[in-house]
C-alpha cells in the first residue's frame, strides 16, 4: 500500500537504455486532407528552393559564359555590333552615383524622423497626431510602387523652378531627367527601410540609458548625439544596407528619370561635379533592360553579364545585413532591425 525509497544510490549514471521514442502518429490514421496538406507544404517549400537554385545556377552559368573583367572597366561603345564591343563601366558609375545621392538624401531624413518620433513623440494630443502623420506618410511611401514615385519625380522636376536640377529641352521646357532627379526619388525608395531600422534600434535602447544621461544633466539633444546615435550605429548600418540594395535593384525610376543614354553625358558647361549630376546616363538596371529584347535589344550577352554583376551585388548586400545582425547579437544583447524568424 505504501512504500518509500531509501536514499538514492549516489553516482548512478544516467539511463541504462538507449533513448527511446514512442510510436508516432502513423499517417495512415490521418484524414486525407491532412496528408494532402503535409504533402503540399513539403512541395511548396521544395519548390521555392528549386526556383532559387535554378536562378542562381542559371545566372552563374551565363555569368561564366559572358562575364569578363574587362567589361567592368571599359566604357560602352555606341556601335552597331553591341554584342562585341564595349563594357558597362558607365552604367556601373551611374548606379554608384544614384546610390550615393539617394542615401545622402535619405539618411538625414530617416534618422531625424526616427529620432523625433522616438524621443519627442510623446506628449499631448497634437504631438501624437503629428507622430501618426509622419509614420503613416512613411508607410504610404513604402507602399507606393516605384513607377508611381518615378511619375511623381517627373512631375516635380519638370517644374520650372527646379530646372537647375536637369537640362532644358527644346521648346523651353525642362526635361526633368537627370541624376539629381533620379537620385532624389531614389531617396524616397531608401527612406522606409532606413527609418524602420533606426526607429526599431532606438526603441530597443533601454530607458535607463537615457535616464542616466538626463540625471547627469545632459540635454536631450546632447544625449541623442553622444549616447543614442552611437548605440544604434549597427541598426543604421543595416538600414543603409537595405536601402542600398533597394536602390541598386530599382529600374523604373531609372528608366523614367534618367533616360537610357549609354554613357554618362554631363550637362555641358557649368560646375564640374554639378554638370554630371544634371546630366544623363544609365545605370546597371537600365543597361540590362536596354540590352534585352525589351529595349533596343541586340545584346543578350551583355544583358546577362550586367545582370550577373547586379545579382552578385545584391547577394553581397544580403550577406552584409546578415553579418551586421550576427555581429551585433554577439557584441551586445540588442536586436538589429528586421524580423523573419
Amino acid at each position: 500500500m505504501s512504500s518509500f525509497a531509501s536514499e538514492p544510490a549516489l553516482g548512478a549514471s544516467g539511463l541504462s537504455s538507449a533513448p527511446r521514442r514512442g510510436r508516432g502518429s502513423s499517417m495512415r490514421t490521418w484524414r486525407w486532407s491532412d496528408r494532402l496538406i503535409w504533402l503540399a507544404a513539403w512541395t511548396a517549400g521544395l519548390l521555392l528552393c528549386a526556383v532559387a537554385a535554378a536562378i542562381v545556377l542559371y545566372m552563374g552559368y551565363r555569368g561564366v559564359q559572358y562575364l569578363r573583367p574587362s567589361l567592368l572597366f571599359s566604357h560602352p561603345q555606341p556601335s552597331g555590333n553591341q554584342a562585341g564591343s564595349g563594357g558597362f563601366l558607365d552604367p556601373l558609375l551611374g548606379t554608384a552615383l544614384l546610390t550615393f545621392i539617394g542615401i545622402l538624401l535619405a539618411a538625414p531624413l530617416a534618422i531625424c524622423s526616427a529620432l523625433w518620433i522616438v524621443e519627442y513623440g510623446h506628449g499631448g494630443r497634437t504631438r501624437q497626431a503629428l507622430t501618426r502623420i509622419v509614420e503613416s506618410s512613411i508607410e504610404i511611401v513604402a507602399g507606393t510602387p516605384d513607377i508611381l514615385i518615378a511619375v511623381f519625380g517627373v512631375a516635380i522636376f519638370q517644374l520650372h523652378f527646379l530646372r537647375f536640377a536637369s537640362e532644358g529641352s527644346e521648346g523651353g521646357g525642362v526635361t526633368g531627367r537627370s541624376f539629381l532627379a533620379a537620385g532624389a526619388m531614389m531617396s524616397l525608395i531608401a527612406l522606409p527601410p532606413l527609418f524602420v531600422a533606426t526607429r526599431d534600434g532606438l526603441q530597443a535602447v533601454p530607458t535607463h540609458m537615457r535616464e542616466a544621461a538626463f540625471a547627469l544633466g545632459k540635454t536631450r539633444i546632447a544625449t541623442i548625439r553622444r549616447v543614442l546615435l552611437p548605440s544604434v550605429r549597427p541598426n543604421i548600418a543595416t538600414g543603409v544596407t537595405l536601402g542600398i540594395s533597394r536602390i541598386i535593384a530599382d529600374t523604373a525610376i531609372v528608366l523614367v528619370l534618367l533616360g537610357d543614354e549609354l554613357r554618362l553625358s554631363p550637362h555641358p558647361g557649368g560646375l564640374p561635379v554639378l554638370n554630371v549630376l544634371r546630366g544623363a546616363g544609365s545605370s546597371l538596371t537600365s543597361y540590362v533592360y536596354d540590352n534585352s529584347p525589351a529595349g533596343e535589344g541586340g545584346a543578350p550577352q551583355k544583358a546577362y553579364a550586367a545582370a550577373v554583376v547586379l545579382l552578385l551585388f545584391v547577394l553581397l548586400l544580403n550577406l552584409a545585413v546578415e553579418w551586421i545582425a550576427r555581429h551585433q547579437a554577439r557584441s551586445s544583447g540588442s536586436v538589429a532591425a528586421g524580423g523573419f524568424v
Binding site: 538514492p8 539511463l15 527511446r20 514512442g22
Partner: protein, 330 residues
C-alpha cells in the same frame, strides 16, 4: 508538549519562516524576540550555522476535507480499476536525470497528488504520462508505463493523448469561441468530422461536468479569451474531459488562479474522480491535503514516499517527507 529538534542534513534554502502557521505554533529559538519559556539559552556554537530548532507547542492538526467528502472518499476506497501503472520509469533531459526510477499505480476513482519542492521532477513525470516530453527533442525515457494493460510506448501518441488528457498551469484556451474550444478534441480526434447537432449535446455535457455551463450558457459563441482566469481554466478542463478520457493529468491547475476559483476547481476535481483517474501536481500542501486520496512525494527526481493521503500527511515514514510536510523546506 512536543518538542522536535533536528539539524538539517541538507543546507536550508533560506525559506522565510511561516510565523503564523495555523497548524502548529512554531518558535524559532534563534529569534531574540522569542517569548517561549522553553527556549534554550543560546545555540550550540559548534554546529555550523544556520541551525534552526523547531519547537512545537501543540500537535499539528491536519487539514481535513469537509465531512461529505470524507464519506465519498470512504465509499470509493474499494479501489477502482487500475488505469495507469508506472514501472521503474526514469526520464532524463540530455545528461541531466529529471526522474529516477519511479514506480506507481493510479486507479480510477482516486486523486493522486504529486507533491514536492520545485524542480524535483513532478511536472516531468506528469508529462511523461502522456508522452508530452517527446515535444522536447533532448528528452529520453526508460521504464514502462502501462495504460489499461497496453504499454504506452506502443500506442500512437495521438491515440494515447485521446485517453490521457492534460490541463496546464496557465489556462490556454484556443483563440476560438467557447463551443469550438470544447468541441475541438471531438472534432479533430475522429476520422470523419462530426456535425454540429452531434456535437452540441456532448459539448453541453462537458461544460456541465466542468461546472461552467451555467455561467456561459447564454452565449456559447463568445470568444473564449474573454472569460476570466478561473473560467478559462474550467473551460480547459471541459475541453480536456469532453472526449471522455480515462485519466486526467493536471499540472498545478490552480496556481495562477484566485482562491475562489481554486475552491471551485477543487470541488470539480472531487466530482470528476468518480469517472476518471486524476493525477494532480501541486506545490500547495494545503491543496494536496484537501484534494488528494493518494500522495506521492518526490524529491530531486526520486519517489521518496507514496501512500494514502492521510498516512503521508499525518504519519510519514521517510524523514524527508516529514520535514517537507511540516514546512521545513520547499
Amino acid at each position: 508538549m512536543n518538542e522536535l529538534e533536528y539539524a538539517p542534513q541538507a543546507p536550508t534554502r533560506g525559506t522565510t519562516p511561516r510565523a503564523h502557521s495555523p497548524r502548529a505554533h512554531i518558535t524559532y529559538v534563534d529569534d531574540p524576540l522569542s517569548t517561549s519559556p522553553q527556549a534554550p539559552a543560546e545555540p550550540d556554537p559548534q554546529i555550523v550555522p544556520p541551525v534552526r530548532t523547531i519547537v512545537l507547542d501543540r500537535a499539528p492538526e491536519p487539514v481535513r476535507p469537509p465531512a461529505q467528502r470524507e464519506a465519498v472518499r470512504r465509499a470509493l476506497e474499494a479501489d477502482g480499476p487500475e488505469r495507469l501503472r508506472l514501472e521503474d520509469v526514469s526520464v532524463a533531459y540530455s545528461a541531466k536525470t529529471a526522474v529516477r526510477s519511479v514506480s506507481l499505480s493510479i486507479h480510477q476513482g482516486e486523486v493522486l497528488a504529486l507533491i514536492g519542492p520545485s524542480g524535483c521532477g513532478k511536472t516531468t513525470l506528469l508529462r511523461t504520462l502522456n508522452r508530452l516530453t517527446e515535444l522536447t527533442p533532448s528528452a529520453t525515457r526508460s521504464g514502462r508505463i502501462v495504460l489499461d494493460g497496453h504499454d504506452i510506448h506502443d500506442l500512437e501518441d495521438t491515440a494515447l493523448r485521446a485517453r490521457v488528457a492534460m490541463v496546464f498551469q496557465q489556462p490556454n484556451p484556443f483563440p476560438m469561441s467557447i463551443f469550438d474550444n470544447v468541441a475541438f478534441a471531438l472534432r479533430e480526434q475522429s476520422r470523419r468530422r462530426p456535425r454540429r447537432p452531434e456535437l452540441e449535446p456532448l459539448v453541453i455535457d462537458a461544460l456541465r461536468r466542468a461546472g461552467l455551463y451555467d455561467e456561459v450558457k447564454d452565449d456559447l459563441h463568445r470568444p473564449a479569451l474573454r472569460l476570466s482566469g478561473g473560467q478559462q481554466q474550467r473551460l480547459c478542463i471541459a475541453r480536456a474531459i469532453a472526449p471522455r478520457p480515462e485519466v486526467l493529468l493536471m499540472d498545478e491547475p490552480c496556481s495562477a488562479l484566485d482562491p475562489i476559483s481554486t475552491g471551485v476547481i477543487e470541488e470539480l476535481i472531487h466530482e470528476l474522480r468518480r469517472e476518471l483517474a486524476v493525477v494532480i501536481v501541486t506545490h500547495n500542501l494545503a491543496q494536496a491535503q484537501r484534494v488528494a486520496d493518494k500522495v506521492a512525494f518526490m524529491y530531486l527526481g526520486d519517489l521518496v514516499e507514496y501512500g494514502p493521503a492521510q498516512q503521508v500527511f499525518e504519519d510519514p515514514r521517510a524523514p524527508r517527507t516529514r520535514d517537507y510536510v511540516r514546512g521545513a523546506f520547499g
